[in-house]
């Protein structure tokens, strides 16, 4: 502790200071800013990111179409934020654990969650959270920020077992107003947890703009309150996210503790399919941000560097749409869940006290089938 222990001759003096950095490699037009990291020069690494971003968007388009035609429930779109989700999903290792919120399907796909699973989830079916791939990843979390203390618990479990694994949790700018976030960040600091916090600063929390969410100039500086580094990246520059997030992951994996990464991006869609953003934000603002969106920017860079061309792009589009179609078909073909299943995963073994209720439901189901 600084304070009474100190001996100084100035009544008032600065005792500590903090800096917040921002990183961007590729600007809105796909032009290079500053010295590029290796990934930017390696088409074999970069093109898969591009593919994943395009697939993410294709899924998104389809999910919204399904919702509009009554085939899906409320859905939260990733439009315009794909670079962050894909960079995070790509950098994480299989043994790491993702503790998501609800908007980062792109990251989940790279972890092995299937499009069919996520469609089931948004169609109101719990089976969509029984991921066949990443068995230890937490499911989508709707109550804002409540997943963040859990991520601290996941990271604490890794640390307890001395495993070289890292927990990653993602959340929005709105989530940084919830106490859960701060409590978890503070604990991650004290316990030096292998945990990376990724804030998707898409400028809006439903209709509440960032300036009404906080007076902070950056969300990265919230980490200062937890005693570990926070930094900003251009979240629409997949190379910047990849680079800085990789560094944070490496640090966490080797005992260096937590980092908070604020990815500056923009929610080009409505909040969810249940929202109408025209009620509260201007067309002009939206237009401006369409100019900064991540896929166009990366495509521009790839084409300029010669790593990519128009023809491959068209093929990729088709391939992605096909994949999404297949997943959609698999989702639509999935037989409906058994109503009685609502009792079957409540406890390891159904308590006797609940058996009559389960029987009652079975009767109800039978009657419903008959009528």
């Amino acid at each position: 502790m600084s304070g009474p222990q100190r001996n100084s001759n100035n009544a008032r003096e600065s005792i500590t200071s903090f800096d917040i950095h921002f990183t961007r490699y590729i600007d809105n037009d796909g032009k290079v800013v500053g010295a590029l990291p290796d990934i930017a020069k390696d088409p074999d690494a970069l093109i898969p990111l591009y593919r994943a971003m395009v697939l993410n968007r294709a899924f998104d388009t389809k999910a919204i179409a399904l919702q509009r035609t009554g085939k899906l429930g409320t859905y939260a779109s990733s439009l315009g934020q794909e670079a962050v989700f894909i960079a995070v999903g790509a950098v994480m290792k299989k043994q790491d654990v993702l503790v998501p919120y609800y908007r980062e399907c792109g990251a989940q796909f790279l972890r092995g969650v299937t499009m069919t699973e996520l469609l089931l989830y948004w169609a109101g079916d719990e089976r969509g959270m029984d991921y066949a791939g990443p068995r230890e990843d937490l499911p989508i979390c709707v109550p804002i920020a409540s997943q963040i203390p859990q991520a601290a618990g996941v990271a604490l479990a890794m640390k307890y077992r001395r495993e070289p694994r890292v927990a990653v949790t993602m959340f929005g700018d709105g989530a940084t107003s919830k106490g859960d976030f701060y409590e978890a960040a503070n604990a991650a600091g004290v316990w030096n947890l292998p945990l990376v916090f990724v804030v998707i600063n898409n400028q809006w929390a439903i209709s509440v703009p960032l300036r009404e969410q906080t007076r902070c100039e950056t969300l990265a500086q919230k980490a200062i309150a937890a005693g570990f580094p926070g930094e900003q990246v251009d979240g629409n520059d997949v190379i910047a996210v990849f680079d800085r997030f990789s560094a944070a992951m490496e640090k966490a994996r080797t005992g260096g503790g937590p980092t908070l990464i604020e990815a500056i991006t923009y929610r080009l869609s409505d909040h969810t399919t249940a929202d109408d953003a025209t009620r509260y934000r201007s067309d002009e603002e939206l237009r401006t941000h369409w100019e900064r969106e991540p896929i166009k920017r990366l495509r521009q860079y790839l084409i300029t560097t010669g790593y990519w061309d128009q023809q491959r792009d068209e093929q990729l589009q088709q391939k992605c749409e096909l994949e999404v179609e297949q997943a959609t078909q698999a989702y639509l073909d999935t037989p409906p869940p058994e109503p009685e299943s609502m009792f079957d995963y409540l406890y390891a073994n159904l308590p006797g006290a609940l058996q009559p209720q389960r029987d009652d439901l079975a009767k109800k189901v039978k009657q419903a089938c008959q009528s």
């Binding site: 429930g73 409320t74 989830y121 948004w122 169609a123 109101g124 079916d125 719990e126 989508i140 709707v142 109550p143 804002i144 920020a145 709105g174 989530a175 107003s177 919830k178 106490g179 929390a205 439903i206 209709s207 509440v208 009404e212 969410q213 906080t214 249940a274 929202d275 009620r279 509260y280 409906p336 869940p337 109503p339 299943s341 609502m342 009792f343 409540l346 006290a353 609940l354 209720q357 009652d360 439901l361 109800k364 189901v365 009657q367 419903a368």
Partner: protein
Amino acid sequence: MPELNLIEAVNKALAFELAADENVVILGEDVGVNGGVFRATVGLQQRFGEQRVLDTPLAETLIAGVAVGMASQGLRPVAEIQFMGFIYSTVDQILNHASRLRNRTRGRLTCPMVLRAPYGGGIHAPEHHSESYEAMFAHIPGLRVVIPSSPARAYGLLLASIRDPDPVIFLEPKRIYRLIKQEVVDNGDGLPLDTCYTLRQGSDVTLVSWGAMLHETQQAAEQLVNDGISAEVIDVATLKPLDMQTILDSVSKTGRCVIVHEAARTAGFGAEIAAQLLEHGLLSLLAPVKRVTGYDTVMPLYRLEEFYLPGVDQIITAVREVVEFG
């Protein structure tokens, strides 16, 4: 007279009281420009300004705590929690503070606040958006818990809640936000908070319910006429403090009672009503009191919610059982 649905009635009541009492302030997430995700506060910020209708950061403990603080200084905050699924972070403020401030300070400070939240299932909402936890609040001394079941009652009960000198948890059954339209006189008249509302007279059985389930309950009562069964239907409306007398009087007439609620059965509020019938009305009971409720399961995601929610058939079956009993 205009026909309003329940959410419009809520909006009208809020507007009336904002105009009538400058101590009334609305706060919550997205209540401003957006007018609330269900449009309960639509147009209010535009009309009354940003001071009176305030968007908060995304933080429910804050919303409740700020409301307690404002109320302690004599304002009348009406705070919205976007969905009941996000109300649990407010329990500490409500239980440890709002419900106790008057008692703790021997009346020096009071807490005339309202916490509004839509609750219940049936609209195919996402996860954690469809639960019914009214019993949790009904157990807390010092609170009022109010649940409207029609546009007119929403209007009158909300006005009374805002004017009440003590904290009120006002839970809005969102399944019926837009289900029915009704004539609502926008004259600022509140409705009493300490009484049940008898919606239908009957002689064979008393059906007790609240919120959205009253609609299935009333349908059941209607259909039971065909079986020659005359059902009285009571809307509890104010769960806490409970007007048990109206229910006891009805049951002493009918001798039979079925309680209907959407929340999980175990330790749901139906248990309290049954327990009081047993304590005070045993001799008039001609049959066991049945509860038709949600199951003691996690509220399922929407594909299965219709199987979770009690239906008209279940109510009718339960009524037949108690009528045929013994």
